[in-house]
């Protein structure tokens, strides 16, 4: 197996207990031979105990005791499988309205959103919600799996109608790449091998799609952004004057000799060296973790940012942000929160609530602006010090924030800068 050329793809799934999501994941794990005998044995036993016929693949993805007892998923669970071509990380989230925050969390790092539609019921409120969250979180690729095709006699008409209905509302969303696959997770049609039951379908199987969707340009390779995470000063004889800025490239490509500007100071210098344990690197790009050394001796610290002189981010204390509220305690207008952005931390005040968005109808409510758990809203923030940011549409790393309640330390909101 040529694992040195295998890529990493992260995808998110969301769905109800009933739409076959757990079965689909179980099927992917099982058919890609990622399930071990002892795991299968445990699931077989559990299926027997529950009096179910055959092996319930859905049980493979059930996690905590409490949820196994309730039979529902209560949080984001991460699953892994790989093929010779790619390693996959699944962020598996429940799909009800009250789990919007879990879907947002799973979506934040995903390359692909996998949306399940029951062929018998077609597009429902939940489908729209998933698609909307995928677009809000700027997941680059959507894969719509029209599931339970075996229950509609693998009808092409059913497939086409659902596809057209989805396209009718998704043109309003900000999604770039959508594909549709007719499947049966239970029977395995078009999951790993092409189904003989859908001769009218000319596209790839689900696994083929996941293995081949182009993710090479999912990162921003244009706007050089390097948030300083940690300053490395060995203070020993061998590296006496060494001062390295450790961090993860958040955008663009950094090269030795590039002219850069340091924020917030505004000083301009050049990259002297890009260092790593394995030796000097010619260049660095997202999502690499490297150490940058500068030609001039400026005193940078965590939260500062190294950027290209002729391509700088926004620098401001006033932000317009789409947020998803995560906490049981509603958002406090004019309340103060800690704000985390790249490696920077500040405090902020929520100065205004522009509107609350109904994620089912996309209606903007400007009257009822109480923001509760799982609500999505557009707000205005004022921070205690300037942040260096891009719009979330342009860069998911330099355009995202979280808010932390300073009395409980809980993460209360996630935000996308407009």
């Amino acid at each position: 197996m040529d694992y040195k050329h295998s890529e990493l793809l992260r995808f998110t799934t969301a769905g109800n207990v009933d739409d076959g999501k757990s079965t689909l994941i179980g099927r992917l794990l099982y058919d890609s031979k990622s399930i071990f005998e002892d795991q299968l044995e445990a699931v077989q036993k559990a299926s027997e105990r529950r009096g179910e016929e055959g092996v319930n693949l859905a049980l493979l993805t059930d996690g905590l005791k409490a949820e196994r007892e309730q039979g529902i998923t209560i949080d984001v669970a991460y699953r892994y499988f790989s093929t010779p071509k790619r390693k996959f990380i699944i962020a598996d989230t429940p799909g009800h309205t009250q789990y919007t925050r879990n879907m947002v969390t799973g979506a934040s790092t995903a390359n692909v959103a996998l949306i399940l539609v029951d062929a018998r019921t077609g597009i429902v409120e939940q489908t729209r919600r998933h698609a909307f969250i995928a677009s809000l979180l700027q997941i680059p690729h959507l894969v719509i799996c029209i599931n339970k095709m075996d229950l509609v006699d693998f009808s092409e008409e059913v497939y086409t109608n659902i596809k057209e209905e989805f396209e009718k509302f998704s043109y309003k969303l900000d999604v770039k790449d959508v594909s549709f696959i007719p499947i049966s997770a239970l029977k395995g049609d078009n999951i790993v091998t092409r189904s003989e039951n859908t001769p009218w379908y000319g596209g790839g199987t689900l696994l083929y799609t996941l293995e081949n969707v182009h993710i090479g340009s999912d990162h921003n390779f244009i706007d050089a952004r390097f948030p300083v995470q940690f300053v490395i000063r060995p203070n020993n004889d061998e590296f006496h004057d060494y001062r390295g800025y450790a961090g993860r490239v958040a955008g663009g490509i950094l090269k030795k000799g590039d002219e850069v500007t340091l924020l917030p100071s505004g000083f301009t210098t050049k990259i002297a060296k890009i260092d790593s344990h394995g030796g000097e690197l010619a260049e660095a790009f997202p999502p690499m973790s490297v150490t940058v050394l500068l030609e001039d001796d400026y005193d940078l610290s965590r939260g500062d940012m190294i950027v290209r002189t002729h391509n700088q981010p926004n620098v401001s204390q006033d932000l317009e942000v789409m947020i998803c509220w995560f906490n049981e305690r509603p958002l406090q207008l004019n309340g103060k929160y800690a704000i985390l952005h790249t490696t920077q931390e500040a405090r902020c005040i929520i100065k205004d609530i522009r509107y609350r968005l109904d994620i089912n109808t996309l209606h903007r409510d400007v009257d009822d602006t109480t923001i509760r758990m799982n609500d999505i809203a557009r707000v205005v923030l004022r921070t205690t010090k300037p942040l260096f940011f891009d719009s979330y549409r342009r860069n998911r790393i330099t355009g995202s924030i979280i808010l932390v309640d300073e009395s409980t330390n809980e993460t209360v909101a996630a935000g996308m800068i407009i």
Partner: protein
Amino acid sequence: MDFNYNLNHLKELEAESMFVLREVAAQFENPVLLFSGGKDSILVTYLAMKAFYPARIPFPLLHIDTGHNFQETLDYRDELVERTGARLIVGSVQEAIDQGRVVEEKGLNASRNFLQTAVLLESMEKGKYDAAIGGARRDERKPAPKERFFSHRDEFGQWDPKNQRPELWNLFNGKKNIGEHFRIFPISNWTELDVWQYLSMEGVNLPSLYFAHQREVFERDGMLLAASEVIQRRPTEIPFETTVRFRTIGDITCTGAVKSTAGTIDDVIDEIAASRVTERGTRADDKRSETAMEDRKKQGYF
């Protein structure tokens, strides 16, 4: 030169783990790296060395020594500490037993795992550590799939599944009250195969226990255990010599060996790729009940 600006999956995992380790150094005052001598904690130590190069790892290694360790593990640990210049702290279960702070289990399947938890929490308190970095992975058994990179623990060291913080993008919230701490899992997203492939790619040395060797073992409940004086045997459990290796390394009393002829990392990768049993399937401590891992986690084991 990487023309496509694509990292392979191992390099991407490496970048993520290095980011998490640097976050720990930046966000916490007094972190510690839990070192067990197993390949996962060896990997975390190696990644920490990379993350802070050319400076030393800016936190000490903490080893909870059950007193039932394989000698190979201890030798490897001491050599690693010597080579990296890292600071080593040892919490001794034997000492805790001798001083009567904990009471040892008796009988055939006696294990010091539960005592390990008590000694770990004791060492954490003594060192006033506010973050303990571990090598747990989400591909291990339940409830690991839902674990966070930054896992919050209350003042009793307990994990409350309902009180964990959502993690989005690259933003980790390590804020806490006095007396609370975090467990940090930088290799959350790695699978067993990823770990081996990476160690092979990077040419990292591992303890000899991980490779095929002759050893005196005996069979219990379908597992091969080392014939050591620290495990009580039934009269019917007759030791025999065979070629084995270990897939995980913990305390002698609960680490099962597998029959294997894999002598190099690449042999091991082939063996795992073809394997049909998870590595936790060789751990007696996880077999006690279906929710064994979850129960031990709540108590603060990891």
